[in-house]
């Protein structure tokens, strides 16, 4: 079974990401959904069902209430998921399946997170499955474990390894500098990356993504209806989602350099989309660069680079805007920011705009693109979800 071409995106919106002291949760929801509805040429009253991706913030907001209350969605299904960092992508997958099933013709997927209202600068300590064993687990700490191991497995010294992943941060900052709505707009050098304070060695400040407020929204329709609303709907070509049970740190022989959830979720999506050679058949990708090392692992697990050879592609600039497969053209989580539940839909927004040739800053518009990928990765234990979009049928 495939979802290929059974669902189309007819509108998308994305709030400004960053430290949005100026607005609350409701404002973010209204900001992204208003743009999406206008882009699709519909009103709120046309939305038949809504799927929400929101992890934890604001803490008081449980269920989908905060979203349907903000938008005054009346008498329709509103369903929230909080599947870690994949929540936004999962909301889009759910919305797409709702349309593909024939139950609904016009469905909203919206992701939102108001991290900066937590009163703390970071996500804090205490993650995972057990309140005691993992009381001191942090996100950078968990991903730092990958970096240490990757460097060891491929014979890189800490210095070589840090310089390698640092180039990913430099790339994403460059792309972010071209994205008006990104959290950060500063270009950085490799020297900046290497000199930055250490967060969780070997990861430094510039290896870590922004902790941001933001919201993104996508309107999905059945393709025939979508074409009535616009000339250039973007089609869902495939999706994949895979879980990876048992924390990697408990799993005997787990390599820490490759994640089953990444391999299996991408394989599902490629199969649905009919892609056999992702390195050449995908024209751009938004992937989950929560940390620079994560983006590197994804290059290999998604088949963008041969196993253990991401280094060659990073050094040749293959993933830069002008390269063979631009990755995170809008700056990624690194620079655009990571309001957890919104991120998957922010990525879909960028891919949608790129495939339409309507990116808000022409300097980062990638030419001659027809297929793009949007992906999020979270946990622990790991969950990975992605959608593949295309601008033509077939």
């Amino acid at each position: 079974m495939t979802i290929k071409d059974k669902v189309a995106i007819a509108g998308a919106g994305c709030s400004k990401f960053g430290e949005r002291w100026d607005c609350g949760f409701s404002d973010l929801v209204i900001e992204s959904s208003s743009e999406a509805l206008k882009d699709a040429g519909i009103g709120l009253e046309d939305v038949q069902a809504c799927f929400v991706g929101q992890l934890v913030q604001p803490l008081t907001g449980v269920g989908a209430s905060t979203v349907f209350d903000a938008l005054k969605l009346k008498g329709i299904p509103v369903i929230r998921n909080e599947n870690w960092c994949t929540s936004g992508t999962v909301a889009l997958i759910e919305a797409s399946m709702a349309v593909a099933s024939g139950c609904y013709d016009i469905v909203m997927a919206i992701g939102v997170e108001k991290l900066k209202d937590s009163g703390y600068p970071g996500l804090g300590a205490g993650r995972g499955m057990n309140q005691v064993y993992e009381a001191r687990r942090t996100a950078p700490g968990s991903f730092g474990l990958i970096a240490t191991r990757y460097f060891q497995q491929y014979g890189l010294t800490m210095e070589e390894g840090k310089a390698l992943i640092g180039k990913i941060a430099v790339k994403n900052h460059h792309n972010g500098s071209l994205s008006p709505r990104a959290h950060f707009h500063n270009e950085i050098t490799l020297e900046d990356v290497l000199k930055a304070p250490i967060i969780a060695y070997p990861l430094g400040l510039y290896d870590c993504c922004g902790n941001s407020d933001g919201s993104a929204c996508v309107i999905v329709m059945n393709p025939d209806l979508a074409r009535k609303y616009r000339e250039d709907p973007i089609y869902i070509k495939g999706f994949g989602m895979a879980a990876d049970p048992l924390l990697p740190n408990a799993r005997p022989n787990f390599s820490w350099t490759s994640f089953d959830a990444l391999v299996k979720s991408s394989a599902q999506a490629y199969k649905m989309a009919g892609i056999t050679d992702p390195r050449h058949e995908i024209d751009l990708a938004e992937v989950h660069d929560c940390f620079s090392i994560t983006e590197l692992a994804i290059y290999e697990d998604f088949g963008f680079s041969p196993r253990g050879r991401a280094r060659d592609d990073i050094e040749s600039g293959f993933f830069e805007l002008t390269g063979g497969l631009p990755v995170n053209s809008d700056g990624g989580l690194k620079c655009f920011g990571h309001p957890v539940g919104a991120s998957g839909l922010r990525m879909a927004y960028e891919v949608y705009k790129q495939l339409q040739g309507k990116v808000d800053n022409p300097k980062r518009q990638i030419r001659n693109v027809s297929r793009g990928l949007a992906h999020t990765f979270g946990g622990a234990p790991q969950v990975s979800a992605l959608v593949i979009l295309g601008n033509e049928k077939g």
Binding site: G122, N130, Q131, V132, A135, T138, T148, I198, I199, P252
Partner: protein, 475 residues
């Protein structure tokens, strides 16, 4: 024959030179250094480590009692003994009791254990004493006190030192005390408390036990006296007719006075050097005094080194500053970090104690995959509820990957080494590394497990196991 069947000691890895403390207050330093419990250590964790060492030479399943002694236990109400016994993975149908408040609590527990075994109702009782007290900043006590633990197993077979005699005196005197709200030890005028407290009671109890048994000072290989300072024990021994060479070194320049644990730790030190037939007199002070006579048996030869006392004495690192000492003890509170996001609660902490406290994982009976924590459905082969529980505390392991996390730290411990370690049987653990310099972290390094305090989630002490570098001693 009833007596001591096994011994275990514990001294924290961190020491601080008394000169560093004295310099902060512009006063003369006392000689030597003292031990300092790490920020994740307390009397429970230290006594567990000592008791685990003790349990290496005796049958765990034959231990049917656990007595815990401390004046600075983490819980003022709630069984500390039961918690330590559980972390030591002792069976549930045992007698547990807490001995507290008096500096003689360690010897009280020892005497109670000897008495209990002599009744024949239980066969083997483990005694563990630990203290982690604080002297007032600037005081002599601040320099003299040390942190540590000692454990003795008491039983009726395979005795390494037989219990020969006991004598005790009571002496009501307000000399050293803490009121319920006090963080620091209060002391009376020093000449008064030494003359009418320690010196008086210790002489009385030593004279008393000699008189009771008809033994003379020269009959003893060693006299072991608890020591409040660097020389008072020598004075008592001399007045009682013992030669300086007979006096067990009180480890005051290496460890310091570790309260209820001190007499037991010094007895261990004496027995580590004893030959079969040697008589040892032990006396401990605490508003009165307890005295014991033990006689080393033939089995003493087999127990050499088993207590690990010497290993701990030589395995140490110096705290660089007084500030660090204050912060380790929670006396200097730094800026609070972000709150922990996954708060525990009483029920899951109780329910999961097989993993959290006893440190059990599971081994699949079908495919053999070993994991921590216990998994009902095997991740390797999918078998449901077909596993055997697997004790993990004694495993050694090697570092597979790590990160040095500045975000997870708090003022007490600003940098956390998050570690993933593989045991020799392939079981993998995620845990924090403790008692290390962060620069020591290396893939492949050998680590062992140690029971530590994680944090105070839900307003109670949350304990779990950490790893630490295996040190061969002298490092």
């Amino acid at each position: 024959m009833i007596g001591i069947t096994s011994m275990g000691a514990y001294i924290p890895y961190r020491r601080i030179s008394r000169a560093i403390i004295a310099r902060e207050w512009g006063r003369r330093a006392l000689k030597g250094e003292r031990s300092v419990a790490n920020s994740d250590e307390d009397c429970i964790t230290m006594s567990v480590e000592a008791a685990m060492n003790c349990l290496r030479s005796i049958e765990r399943s034959a231990t049917d009692g656990f007595y815990f002694a401390s004046t600075s236990a983490p819980y003022k109400e709630k069984s500390n003994a039961g918690l330590a016994a559980t972390a030591c993975d002792l069976k549930d149908d045992i007698i547990t009791a807490d001995f507290a408040n008096s500096l003689r609590a360690g010897t009280s527990a020892l005497k109670a254990a000897l008495d209990l075994v002599s009744t024949g109702t239980v066969k083997n009782v483990l005694v563990a004493a630990a203290d982690c007290r604080s002297g007032y900043p600037k005081s002599d006590q601040e320099q003299l006190i040390g942190d540590g633990a000692a454990s003795l197993a008491v039983g009726g077979s395979n005795v390494i030192a037989s219990f020969e005699a006991f004598y005790a005196v009571n002496n009501e005197i307000v000399d050293i005390w803490r009121n319920p709200e006090d963080t620091y030890i209060r002391t009376g005028e020093s000449r008064f408390i030494m003359e009418q407290g320690y010196n008086l009671s210790m002489k009385k109890v030593v004279d008393g036990i000699l008189k009771k048994t008809g033994l003379k000072p020269q009959d003893f290989k060693k006299i072991v006296l608890s020591a409040p300072d660097l020389r008072a024990n020598l004075g008592v021994a001399k007045k009682c007719g013992f030669e300086p060479a007979q006096v067990q070194d009180a480890l005051m320049t290496e460890v310091g006075n570790c309260g209820t644990a001190q007499p037991l730790m010094l007895l261990i030190a004496a027995l580590e050097e004893a030959q079969p037939g040697d008589l040892i007199l032990l006396a401990a002070y605490g508003n009165g005094a307890d005295a014991f006579i033990f006689k080393a048996t033939e089995k003493i030869k087999e127990s050499a080194g088993a207590s690990s006392l010497k290993k701990y004495l030589h395995t140490k690192t110096s705290l660089p500053s007084y500030t660090k000492y204050l912060s380790f003890r929670g006396l200097l509170e730094g800026e609070p970090g972000e709150p922990f996001r996954t708060l525990p609660s009483n029920a899951p902490y109780w329910r999961d104690q097989k993993g959290i406290l006893r440190f059990y994982g599971s081994k699949c009976k079908k495919c053999g995959e070993s994991v921590f924590p216990i998994q009902r459905i095997c991740n390797g082969c999918g078998a449901k509820d077909e596993y055997e529980e697997m004790a993990c505390a004694e495993k050694t392991a090697r570092m597979f990957t790590y990160t040095i996390d500045n975000l997870a730290g708090r003022s007490d411990d600003p940098t956390i080494v998050q570690s993933v370690v593989d045991a020799d049987d392939g079981t993998r653990f995620y845990m924090l590394m403790t008692d290390c310099d962060t620069t020591e972290a290396k893939i492949g390094m050998e680590v062992e497990f140690t029971f530590r305090r994680i944090y105070e989630g839900a307003d109670f002490h949350n304990y779990f196991w950490k790893c630490r570098p295996v040190r061969k001693g002298g490092e």
